[in-house]
Amino acid sequence: MSITTMLVTMSDGMLKTFGIFFLTLLGALPLGMVVALLKKSRFLVVRGIVGIYISVVRGTPLMLQLLAWYFGPYYLFGWEIGGWRYPAIIVGFVLNYAAYFAEIYRGGIESIPVGQYEAAEVLGYSHTQTFMRIILPQVIKRIMPAITNEIITLVKDTSLAFTLAYQEVFSIAKQIAASQTSFMPFVIAGVFYFVANYLVEFVMKRIEKSMDYYK
């Protein structure tokens, strides 16, 4: 098999890898905020549930969570799971990353001095206005380096979808390596992940820079 054929074959997997990547960010970035806010809920039960969710997700391997999301419905309820492979992967990734993002958000929110809330309150801002206009922009700036780290990890973690034999770039690399007894597919996959992360870093640096106008 020529390197060109390998690249063409793997490019299909690259698209699928990007699919997992973007859907996870799309779901987990906002969901993480909801989780972070629920963690600060007035209700003990809500805080408790969210706390358990975060510690379970952070305390178990993502690979295991993916297996659980995919096979769980069958083992628990006897449901047929044909067609559930991709949704299970996305649910697994989103819920996993939402927990990590939530903790980053929470740290960011708690790092904002109480004086910012008081100044906003005295000026008559509503709770929503205070959060959206005063607190959140400052939180985003503060958590950017941590978010960048997490996104870079996500790029690499997408390869865990091979656990469920989803045909993303790493699974295909393994298959080509098996049929061609060649290490080349792994080199291509490595370069792919590296370049993807290089782009992530570049974009995130730009975003961080765009918020450099204040301290």
Partner: protein, 287 residues
Amino acid sequence: MKKIVASVLAIAMAAIVLVGCGGGASTTTETKSTTEDTSTGKIAAYTEEDLGKDFVFKHGFDQEFPPYAYRNDNGETGGFDVELAQAVCDYYGWKYEPVPFNWDAKDMELNAGSCDCIWSGFTINGREDNYLWSMPYSDNEQMIMVKKNSDIKKLDDLAGKNVGVQTDTSAYTMLTEGEQKELASKFGNLQVFPDYTTAFTELKAGSIDAIAIDITTGDHLIKDDKDYGYLEEKLGNEQYGIGFRKGDDVLCKKVNEALDALVADGTFAKLGEKYPEIQPYLSLGKK
């Protein structure tokens, strides 16, 4: 592997269910029964009506098992078993759906209904009671692969050596609980790999001394590498078949009938010619 995953699953999901719905107490016993009997799933068996023209045949296979199922030189999903399954579908006008899975998870995939069969160089021997089997269509031999100038010349020389094998293959079963268990107990170490590609890389690198492998897979690995060969002494024999969920008799019967027809019209033999590594071992139509 399956049992561990299943029980961890049960715990994790139970926690989620308890928190989420506050119910689900009755599911525990069901989970247990499915883990103990590997192939009696709750997925309903197909009836004659289900298997009409619009039936979608979900072919479950390990895509890293050349030459039966693999990425071919064009980067497409191919292999003898994949093409044979497609031929069966064509025979009935069924729609073919490939379901590549990880070999570790094959039983979970089958039981949970994400595929209708396990069909990629799947050894019947030792698993007779676990699945509903089609007729065997290929023979195979378990061999020991070594470097040609290796000091290992016969099976007894393997004592104290590091031997590699792919997890959950028939060679693996043979060495861990089958007829060659005693031989394996003399090994220095039986190193279990997720796939044979990795095992072969390690053999080349010298970190293991030999690989226990079926000959068709082995031939594929060493087809461009004349430095490697097999011991003359065989590890064992086996037959390949298609594993269905127990109770899926109608589907199994239909596939058997299709295989007979494909042998009769020469499709099976023609397919064999495309895969010279397998051809000598194909057992159908050879009377």
